[in-house]
C-alpha cells in the first residue's frame, strides 16, 4: 500500500498549494495549522482501504481542490443571505456565516439573549481567546482527515458561551450560506454550555444547485454538568456540493443532549458525529434522516464513546435511497471499562426504492464493561408490501401510499427529536422531507 500513498492526486496537490497560499493570511496559531495540515499530508485523502472511509472513497470523489471562498462585502453577504429559507419561520437569534466568514451585518450579534456571549472565531483566534482551550475536547477527532483539514483551513465561525444557569429560550440559528463560483469553505464553531444552562442550536447549510462547492464545517459542543442542549441541522447544500461536516459533543454529568441531522442536498456528504459521555447519568440522542437520489452519496459515521457510568445513548437513523444513489451508515458504540451500567441502543433502517440504489450499514459494538445493555440493529429493504396493499385497498394511489409510508418512516426521527408542543419546529423539519417526497412522485 505504501507505493499507492506516494502518488498524489490532483486534489491532494491542490490542497497543498491552497494551504501554502493561504497560511500567511489565516488567523491564529500558524504552527497548530501546520501540524494539522501535516496530519493530512501523512495520510492523504482517505480511500476505500482506509477502514473508516471504506464506503466513502473521498480520494476518488474529490477531483480537485476548490479555491478558498473570498469574504463578501456587507451588501453581497446580505443578498446571499436573502436567498436562505431554512428555519426562516422559527423565531431565532440569527448568525449568518457567508462563504466561511461571519457576516455581522446580517446577524443579530448586537441583540443576544441574556447569558449568551458570541465572539467570531477569526477574532478569537487572533487574540488567543481563553475559550478556545475548550476546542478539541474529543481527541479521537483530531486524527480524522476531514477534521484535520478543517483545523488547517478554518477561516471563521463563532465561539458561543452560554453562561452557567442561563436558560436561553430563543434558538441560536447558525445560518451557513455559500455564494458565487465553486469554492471551498472551512468553518469552526464552538459552543460551550456552562453548568445548568440550556440552549437550542439550529444549523442550516444552503448553497445553489449546480455549483461544486466544498464546505467543511465543524461544530464542537461542550456541555458541562446539568445542561440541556438541543441541536437541529438541515443539510440543504446544492446538488453538486461535496460536503464534509463534523459534530463533536463532549458531555458532562446529567446532561440531556439531542442532535438531529436532515440531509437532502449535496452530491456527496459525510457527516461525522463524535459523542463522548464524560460524566455520569447523561443521556445523548443522535438522529438522522437522509434522502438521496440520482448519483448522490450520503455517509453518516458515528463514534459514540461511553467513558462514564450510568449513561444512556440512543441513535436512530433513517435512509431512503432512490435512483442510483448510495447511503452509508457506520456507527460505533464503544463502552470503556469505566462505563458500567451503560444503556446504548442504535438502529439504522434503510429503504431502497430503485434498482440502482446501494445501502451499506456497519453498526459496531466495542464493549469492555460487563454490566451493560447495548444493542444495535440494522435493516434494509423495500417498503412493506402488506402496508402498501392496505393503503391502496383504501383507495390511496401507489405514489401517495409510498409517500405516506416514507413520510412516517423518516418523520419518526423528527417526532422523537422535537416535542409535540413545538409544532412550528416540527413542521419546519418535516418540510424538507415532504418536499423531497413530492419531488419524487
Amino acid at each position: 500500500m505504501a507505493d499507492v500513498q506516494k502518488f498524489k492526486t490532483a486534489a491532494e496537490t491542490g490542497l497543498a498549494e491552497r494551504f501554502s497560499q493561504a497560511r500567511a493570511s489565516l488567523p491564529g496559531d500558524a504552527a497548530a495549522r501546520a501540524t494539522a495540515f501535516a496530519r493530512f499530508t501523512d495520510s492523504g485523502l482517505p480511500h476505500r482501504r482506509v477502514e473508516e472511509w471504506k464506503y466513502t472513497d473521498l480520494r476518488a470523489a474529490m477531483r480537485e481542490a476548490a479555491p478558498l471562498a473570498g469574504k463578501l462585502d456587507d451588501k453581497a453577504a446580505a443578498a446571499a443571505i436573502a436567498g436562505a429559507t431554512r428555519f426562516a419561520e422559527i423565531d431565532a437569534v440569527r448568525i449568518a456565516i457567508v462563504n466561511g466568514h461571519v457576516a455581522a451585518s446580517a446577524s443579530d450579534l448586537g441583540a443576544l439573549p441574556a447569558g449568551v456571549e458570541i465572539t467570531t472565531l477569526s477574532q478569537a483566534l487572533a487574540e488567543g481567546h481563553p475559550l478556545l482551550a475548550s476546542l478539541g475536547a474529543i481527541p479521537e477527532a483530531a486524527d480524522n482527515v476531514a477534521y484535520a483539514l478543517n483545523a488547517a483551513f478554518m477561516t471563521d465561525g463563532v465561539v458561543i458561551r452560554v453562561a452557567a444557569g442561563a436558560k436561553v429560550e430563543k434558538p441560536l440559528h447558525l445560518r451557513f450560506v455559500i455564494d458565487g463560483e465553486a469554492s471551498a469553505t472551512a468553518t469552526r464553531t464552538l459552543a460551550l454550555v456552562e453548568e445548568g444552562a440550556s440552549v437550542t442550536l439550529i444549523e442550516s447549510h444552503e448553497c445553489a444547485d449546480g455549483v461544486a462547492h466544498q464546505p467543511n464545517d465543524v461544530l464542537e459542543i461542550v456541555a458541562r454538568d446539568d445542561t440541556k442542549v438541543e441541536h437541529l441541522r438541515i443539510d440543504a447544500h446544492g446538488d453538486a456540493a461535496l460536503a464534509l461536516s463534523t459534530l463533536t459533543a463532549y458531555l458532562g454529568a446529567r446532561v440531556a443532549f439531542d442532535t438531529l441531522n436532515l440531509v437532502t442536498g449535496p452530491a456527496l456528504m459525510r457527516h461525522q458525529v463524535y459523542m463522548t459521555f464524560a460524566g455520569d447519568h447523561t443521556t445523548g440522542a443522535v438522529r438522522g434522516a437522509t434522502m438521496v437520489t440520482g448519483r448522490q452519496h450520503a455517509d453518516t459515521t458515528l463514534y459514540v464513546n461511553h467513558v462514564a457510568p450510568h449513561c444512556e445513548s440512543r441513535e436512530l437513523f433513517k435512509t431512503v435511497i432512490d435512483g442510483d444513489a448510495t447511503g452509508v451508515f457506520q456507527g460505533k458504540i464503544a463502552v470503556a471499562r469505566t462505563a458500567q451500567k451503560t444503556d446504548g441502543k442504535m438502529m439504522s433502517s434503510a429503504v431502497l426504492l430503485s434498482e440502482g440504489g446501494t445501502m451499506n450499514n456497519k453498526p459496531e459494538l466495542e464493549i469492555f464493561a460487563d454490566d451493560v445493555l447495548c444493542a444495535h440493529g440494522a435493516t434494509c429493504g423495500q417498503l412493506d408490501d402488506d402496508l402498501l396493499f392496505y393503503l391502496m385497498a383504501r383507495g390511496i394511489p401507489r405514489p401517495e401510499a409510498e409517500a405516506l409510508l416514507l413520510e412516517s418512516f423518516l418523520g419518526e426521527t423528527v417526532e422523537e427529536a422535537v416535542g409535540e408542543e413545538n409544532e412550528t419546529m416540527r413542521e419546519t423539519l418535516m418540510a424538507p422531507i415532504r418536499a423531497w417526497l413530492s419531488a419524487r412522485g
Binding site: A350, L352, T358, E364, F368, D370, D371, G377, T379
Partner: protein, 490 residues
C-alpha cells in the same frame, strides 16, 4: 440438573489447568528441514508422491505468497511469526504407508484412544447403533494415519480419504475443484496453505446419494515447532447430502504453534452440506503463554440451485482464532447458514464470523452468533452480508449476542451489511449484556452455587446453536463450554 452436575464433576477431576488434551505422544518423527523454501515444498510433494502438476501448483502458490503481506485488520495481536523458524512437515516414521490399522504405530492409536476417538472399526461397532456410526479420518501432524469405514462408504459410491490419496487416486476431481472456492492467492494464509499443505480430508458424494453415516476428521498437532496446514475439500454432487464433523486438539506447550487450514465446500444443484466444528486447540495458559494460532480459511460455494451449506462451530480453543466460514450463494434459491458459539477465557483472542455473499436470486441466509467472553480475553464477531445487483429476493437474518463475564474482557461486534438490490431484505440485530442478576439470583435461590448457575445460564444462552450440532457433538460441546469458563466467576 444432571448436565451441570456432570460438568462440575469433570471440572473437579481436572487439575489446576483445565485443558485435558494437553498430553504429548513420544514418537520417532520424520521431518522436513526447518524453514520454508522451494526445496521444502519439493520435499513435501515428493513425500506425498504427488504428480508433477501438483508440485507446480504448490510452487506457484509459494511464489505468490512471497509477495503478500500478513493481514492486520483483525482485532488480534501477537508477536511477529518467523515463518522460517517452523517445520512444515512432520510425520510419524514408518517405512510404508500403513495398509491397515495393525501397521499404525500403537502409540498413535493410544493417543487417539485417549482423545476418545477409537479408530478400530470393531471397537466403534461394539455397542453403537449402526445409524450413529461415524467414519473418521485421523490426521496426525502432517499426515492422515487412518480412515475408517472406507469400504462401506465406497459401496455407497462415497469417496472419503486423505487429500494426499485423492490427489493420486482421483486427480480429475481434485483438479476440477481444488482452489475453485478459495483461490490460491485468496489471502496470506490460504496462499501459504496452498504451498505447503500436508494432509487433510477429501470427500465426494455422488449425485443423489445421502451419505450413509457422519464423516469426521480428527486433527491432532503433536510435534513441537510444527505448523499444521491441512486442506479439506468436500464436494456434494447434485441432490446429495453429507454431514461432516471436525475436531481438533494439541498438546500443552509453552511456544505458540501455527495452524493454517483451508476448507473448501462445493454444493451442486439441490445438494446439502452440513459442516460442524468443535475447535479445541490448546488455548495457552491463563497468562497467555503458548497456544495455537488458528488462522483458517473456510468457504462454501452453493454453486447449484437450491443448494444448502450450513456451518456450525463451537470455538473454545486456540490462543488466537482468525476464522470466517463463509457461503457464496451463487445458485438461485440457495441457502447459507452459520451458527457459532465462541467462548474466550484467559488471554484468548477470537476474531471470527462469517460472510454471506448473495449472488443468485431468492437466496437466503441466516447467521446466529453467540459470543461469551471471560477472563482477559477479546472476542470479536466480524461478518459480512452482501447482496449483489442480481440477487433479487435475497433474505438475511442475523442475530449476534455477546455475553461478558467479568470486567477485564472485551466483546465486539463488527458487521458489514451491503445491499445493492432493492428487493433484498436484510435484518440484523445484536446485543451485548451480562448474565442477568435476576436470573442468577433465581437459580441460586433454587440451590445452585454461582458457578453452576452461570453454567446453566450460559448453556441456555447458546442453546439455539448447540441444537444445530449432531447429538454426540452437542453433549461434548456443552461440557467443553462449561470447562472453558471454569474459574471465570468470582
Amino acid at each position: 440438573m444432571p448436565a451441570v452436575q456432570d460438568t462440575i464433576d469433570r471440572v473437579k477431576a481436572i487439575d489446576v489447568d483445565q485443558y485435558k488434551y494437553g498430553f504429548e505422544t513420544i514418537l520417532e518423527m520424520e521431518k522436513a528441514p526447518k524453514g520454508l523454501n522451494e526445496d521444502v515444498i519439493r520435499f513435501i510433494s515428493a513425500k506425498k508422491d504427488e504428480p508433477e502438476w501438483m508440485l507446480e501448483w504448490r510452487l506457484e502458490a509459494y511464489r505468490r505468497w512471497l509477495t503478500m503481506q500478513e493481514p492486520s485488520w483483525a482485532r488480534v495481536s501477537y508477536p511477529k511469526i518467523d515463518f522460517n523458524d517452523l517445520y512444515y512437515y512432520a510425520a510419524p516414521k514408518m517405512n510404508e504407508a500403513p495398509k491397515s490399522l495393525d501397521e499404525v504405530d500403537p502409540e498413535i492409536l493410544k493417543a487417539y484412544e485417549k482423545l476418545g476417538i477409537p479408530l478400530r472399526e470393531q471397537e466403534i461397532l461394539a455397542g453403537v447403533e449402526p445409524k450413529n456410526r461415524v467414519a473418521v479420518d485421523a490426521v496426525f501432524d502432517s499426515v492422515s494415519v487412518a480412515t475408517t469405514f472406507k469400504k462401506e462408504l465406497a459401496e455407497a459410491g462415497v469417496i472419503f480419504c486423505s487429500i494426499s490419496e485423492a490427489i493420486r487416486e482421483h486427480p480429475e476431481l481434485v483438479k476440477k475443484y481444488l482452489a475453485s472456492v478459495v483461490p490460491v492467492s485468496d489471502n496470506f494464509y490460504a496462499t501459504l496453505n496452498s504451498a505447503v499443505f500436508t494432509d487433510g480430508s477429501f470427500v465426494y458424494i455422488p449425485p443423489g446419494v445421502r451419505c450413509p453415516m457422519e464423516l469426521s476428521t480428527y486433527f491432532r498437532i503433536n510435534e513441537k515447532n510444527t505448523g499444521q496446514f491441512e486442506r479439506t475439500l468436500i464436494i456434494a454432487d447434485k441432490g446429495s447430502y453429507v454431514s461432516y464433523l471436525e475436531g481438533c486438539t494439541a498438546p500443552q506447550r509453552d511456544e505458540n504453534q501455527l495452524h493454517a487450514a483451508v476448507v473448501e465446500l462445493v454444493a451442486l444443484d439441490d445438494a446439502e452440506i452440513k459442516y460442524s466444528t468443535v475447535q479445541n486447540w490448546y488455548p495457552g495458559d491463563s497468562e497467555g503463554k503458548g497456544g495455537i494460532y488458528n488462522f483458517v480459511t473456510k468457504r462454501g460455494d452453493c454453486r447449484g440451485k437450491n443448494s444448502i451449506i450450513t456451518w456450525t462451530q463451537v470455538e473454545t480453543g486456540s490462543a488466537i482464532t482468525w476464522k470466517y466460514p463463509s457461503c457464496i450463494l451463487r445458485g438461485d434459491g440457495s441457502r447459507g447458514e452459520f451458527y457459532s458459539i465462541a467462548v474466550s477465557n484467559g488471554r484468548q483472542q477470537i476474531d471470527s464470523g462469517t460472510k454471506m455473499i448473495h449472488l443468485g436470486k431468492n437466496t437466503t441466509s441466516r447467521i446466529i452468533s453467540k459470543g461469551i467472553s471471560a477472563g482477559q480475553s477479546e472476542n470479536t464477531y466480524r461478518g459480512l452480508v452482501s447482496a449483489h445487483r442480481k440477487a433479487s429476493g435475497a433474505r438475511n437474518f442475523t442475530n449476534c449476542d455477546s455475553l461478558l463475564i467479568g470486567d477485564r474482557c472485551g466483546a465486539h461486534t463488527v458487521p458489514y451489511i451491503e445491499s445493492k438490490n432493492a428487493s433484498a431484505v436484510f435484518e440484523h440485530e445484536a446485543t451485548t449484556s451480562k448474565i442477568s442478576e435476576d436470573q442468577l439470583f433465581y437459580c441460586m435461590q433454587r440451590g445452585l452455587d454461582e458457578e453452576e448457575a452461570v453454567a446453566l445460564i450460559v448453556n441456555g444462552f447458546v442453546k439455539d446453536v448447540l441444537q444445530k450440532l449432531p447429538m454426540e457433538f452437542a453433549v461434548e460441546a456443552q461440557k467443553l463450554i462449561s470447562i472453558s469458563l471454569e474459574g471465570s466467576v468470582g
